[in-house]
């Protein structure tokens, strides 16, 4: 089985470092992007199995990234987990409506967060079916 690829889109270098260490230890391949523009470029180049997306990004926020991904055929099917410091009261529903599979507020509970990642990677096909309906 090939390694699953995860793309972390977050402008916080420390978070990239810590989270990618954890994910690599779990056997995933991790790439990172720090702004909205390079996020799309890297995503198209890498075609990851999962994207972990921050909402507050330089050069356009996470919602912009989500929207553009839905318009791009090669990215539309990739599940996205939003991980943001923003208030879930305002942003959770918006994220899910925009096509994210889950919303976590920073700092996330490790157990739940990793479970969601596993889940999202395991259900890639079924979930992409939902996105189309």
């Amino acid at each position: 089985m090939t390694e699953k690829k995860i793309l972390i889109i977050d402008d916080d270098q420390h978070l990239q470092l810590g989270l990618s260490a954890r994910l690599r230890a779990r056997g995933y391949r991790v790439t990172c992007a720090a702004d909205a523009i390079s996020a799309i470029t890297v995503a198209r180049k890498e075609l990851p199995d999962l994207i972990i997306l921050d909402l507050g990004l330089p050069a356009g926020d996470g919602f912009v990234v989500l929207e553009r991904m839905r318009d791009l055929a090669d990215l539309a099917a990739i599940p996205v987990i939003v991980l943001s410091a923003r208030d879930p009261a305002d942003n959770k529903k918006r994220s899910l409506d925009a096509g994210a599979v889950a919303f976590f507020q920073k700092p996330p509970d490790n157990h739940e967060f990793l479970a969601a990642i596993r889940h999202a990677l395991g259900e890639t096909v079924a979930l992409s079916t939902f996105l189309k309906t």
Binding site: H14, A25, D87, A89, A126
Partner: protein
């Protein structure tokens, strides 16, 4: 003390004489002045010699007697009017005459004429040994003895020569000379003098009263003048009066300036002209007068219109004045322009809102910004603890665990900060749903177990079995419970215990009470209310227990009240605390009330539909079930049917229940629509729905209003047996 003075001191209080000389009681004067206090200044004014001179002189000349005025102590004020020659002689003799009566020739014997007159309030006549007589009359103002008038120094007959000679000797004049003087004084008989004394009494007291009225009138005029000046001078308030119909009867300078009408123009006009057209249409002026008539006054704030049609925001006070009781009432109005104040208040309110907005922005910004570094710390710490970077020594592991605990604490504080801003901006909302408390409490207790174990505190659940479902937000109830339990752990010494329990809440129907009790330090009774306030951490608690922002109970209170419940604490210092909070019980009957009606049930068109979802291969995922729920929601008619919340503790829910307003035939239609929709929705993941139904039937006439609860209970029973049957099948 002179004999006269001592006599005065001993004299009993004045009592009216048997035959009053002046009928004083016929007027209000006596009542008014019965116990009046006359100031020394007024007293001096009343007995002002200048005013009295003319009347005394006239009297003296007419009656051919000497007249003098005395004060209330009997001391002669000023000079003697129309003095008699003998009197003058005595005065010229300049002999020391003691403090006796100046009218007595023989001063060796005390004269009590004045004192007696003051004491008795009646006319007193004295005749001395030389045959000189004088009469004393009191001046009375009500019960007050203001002074006396003495008249006399006349012979009632020509004196006998022996006596004259002795007097002449006493005063060092020749008997001849004295005789010459005495001759000039025409004798007045005692009877005449007595009569003239009565006349003097009447005259004196009449004059005194006239003088009193004159003084009062002057003072009143002065006061009136001052008041008028004051009213006129008030320029920033409009003051005016109206008759009982609301027509203007007076108009001050402030009214002219503020309302823009000169008094000539407004006098006699109805005051409603200062109100706006809408107010006049709504009969506001009349209502104000009516209110003032009933309550004595009416206050209001609103727009008024000036003579030049400009409007201003005014404070209006109308007072009803009762001038002629029972006849008609007039009104006094005070109008104050508060347009500026209103503007300022508006600006202040804006500033307050702006400040609140900034505060909220700051807090939410802080809460947001704290999360980013907190996340990095959290991730690195958990990475280390989970061995991502290699194995740790026991010591390292222990200390990193402590670090992680602190991170968790910081995290909950940051969340509290955010909740606080939500409370203040009324954004703290709860999303109630059908919730199983038993499951949630178990879950919360296992979360809190680590904390309790560290402090060697026993965590107990004493929740009654078969706890009803509640209608509450699970995340928020969890937050409240964790808050209360963590608090209990924090304030309980090692080897104590924290217990979660439940009891029915009898005080309010449809509510359930949860209890979190501890064996900790307790709260003094005066602090029992305060603990729920913002940032209230009772100062006496030990340093070790002080952690957190002191916001937890405040937030808990807000959350409980948003569920419609209440929270309170019973505690005693040193004996632990018991926190109570109530939550609304989920009511199936309430949820389905619009379907469960008598006609529906009697007609047999209430059907319980169960939709079981299974997948051809593997377990159904929670998100798919969420989507299924959405599909079913679209299939029902919301005004007629109810998609029940998940009625089982098991997650994820694979059975959906619908109370539909339909009979057996209608069910076929609904079932086929649902099956079609679900197939359409899920062509790939191969869901397999099984749709079954039970019609709730009631014989006609059986149904009473109270039976909705019974029907709901039956639905609940059917649901539970369906779920259990399915469990058995699996």
């Amino acid at each position: 003390m002179t004999p006269e003075a001592s006599r005065r001191a001993d004299a009993p209080e004045y009592s009216p004489p048997a035959t009053p000389i002046l009928p004083l009681c016929d007027s209000t004067l006596l009542q008014e002045k019965g116990n009046m206090q006359v100031s020394p200044a007024l007293r001096a004014d009343l007995l002002d010699l200048k005013a009295w001179s003319e009347i005394l002189m006239t009297y003296g000349r007419t009656m051919r007697v000497a007249v003098a005025l005395t004060d209330s102590q009997g001391q002669v004020l000023g000079k003697c009017h129309n003095p008699q020659p003998v009197w003058q002689l005595v005065h010229r003799a300049e002999r020391d005459r003691g403090s006796g009566c100046p009218f007595c020739i023989n001063t060796l014997l005390p004269c009590t004429a004045v004192a007696d007159a003051l004491r008795t309030g009646g006319t007193v006549m004295v005749r001395d040994q030389v045959g000189l007589t004088h009469v004393s009359v009191p001046l009375l103002l009500g019960k007050l003895r203001l002074g006396a008038i003495v008249a006399g120094q006349v012979f009632d007959r020509y004196p006998d020569s022996l006596v004259l000679r002795r007097v002449a000797k006493d005063y060092g004049v020749s008997a001849q000379q004295l005789w010459e003087l005495a001759k000039e004084q025409r004798p007045v008989s005692s009877a005449v003098l007595q009569a003239s004394g009565d006349l003097l009494c009447a005259l004196g007291n009449a004059f005194l009263r006239q003088r009193y009225s004159a003084i009062l009138e002057t003072k009143l005029a002065e006061t009136n003048g001052r008041f008028r000046l004051l009213v006129e001078g008030v320029m920033d308030h409009a003051l005016f009066t109206m008759d009982s119909n609301g027509c203007v009867t007076s108009w001050n300078g402030g009214a002219e300036r503020l309302l823009g009408y000169v008094d000539a123009a407004i006098m006699g006009q109805n005051f409603s002209c200062i109100f706006t057209r809408e107010d006049i249409q709504n009969r506001v002026p009349e209502r104000h007068l009516h209110k003032a008539l009933i309550a004595g006054r009416a206050d209001d704030e609103g727009w008024l219109v000036r003579g030049d049609r400009k409007q201003f925001w005014a404070n209006v006070n109308i007072t009803a004045m009762e001038e002629n009781p029972g006849i008609s009432r007039s009104f006094a109005i005070m109008v104050h322009d508060v347009t500026e104040q209103r503007k300022i208040a508006g600006v202040l309110e804006d500033a307050r809102q702006e400040r609140q907005r900034l505060e909220e922005k700051l807090l939410s910004h802080v809460s947001h910004e704290l999360r980013t570094p907190l996340t990095a710390i959290y991730i690195f710490t958990t990475n280390l603890l989970d061995g991502v970077y290699g194995d740790l020594t026991t010591y390292q592991h222990e200390h990193l665990t402590l670090a992680l605990e602190n991170v968790q604490q910081l995290k909950s504080m940051v969340s509290d900060l955010l909740d606080i801003t939500r409370v203040e901006t009324h954004k703290l909302t709860v999303e109630p749903q059908h919730l199983s408390l038993a499951k949630l409490i178990d879950d919360v207790l296992s979360t809190c177990l680590t904390n309790a174990a560290v402090k060697n505190i026993t965590l107990r659940s004493d929740v009654a079995p078969g706890l009803p479902f509640v209608w509450a937000d699970p995340a928020r109830v969890r937050q409240i419970l964790i808050n209360l339990i963590d608090n209990g752990i924090k304030f309980t010494p090692p080897s104590g215990s924290v217990t979660v329990a439940s009891r029915p809440y009898v005080e309010k129907e449809g509510f359930l009470c949860l209890i979190v009790s501890d064996t900790g330090c307790g709260i003094s009774s005066e602090n029992c209310e305060l603990v729920f306030e913002r940032l209230s951490q009772v100062s006496s608690t030990t340093e070790a227990s002080r952690s957190g922002l002191g916001l937890g109970l405040f937030i808990s209170r807000e959350l409980v009240s948003r569920h419609g419940g209440r929270i309170w604490v019973e505690s005693e210092l040193g004996r632990g605390s018991i926190f109570y909070f109530t939550l609304p019980v989920f009511s199936l009957a309430k949820l389905c009330s619009h379907v469960l009606t008598a006609p529906n049930l009697e007609a047999g068109c209430v059907t319980l539909i169960a939709v079981d979802v299974a997948q051809v291969a593997g377990a159904v995922q929670a998100d798919i079930l969420l989507e299924v729920r959405k599909v079913l929601e679209r299939c029902i008619r919301p005004e007629q049917d109810v998609l029940l919340p998940s009625m089982s503790d098991a997650e994820p829910v694979k059975t959906f229940f619908i109370i539909a307003c339909t009979d057996a035939k209608g069910f076929e239609v609904i079932a086929s629509r649902m099956a079609r929709e679900l197939r359409k929705f899920d062509s790939a993941s191969k869901l397999k729905p099984a749709i079954s139904s039970t019609t709730l039937l009631l014989a006609p006439g059986q149904f009473g209003k109270e039976q909705i609860g019974d029907v709901a209970a039956r639905i609940d029973q059917l649901v539970q047996s369906h779920l259990m049957g399915k469990d058995r099948l699996q």
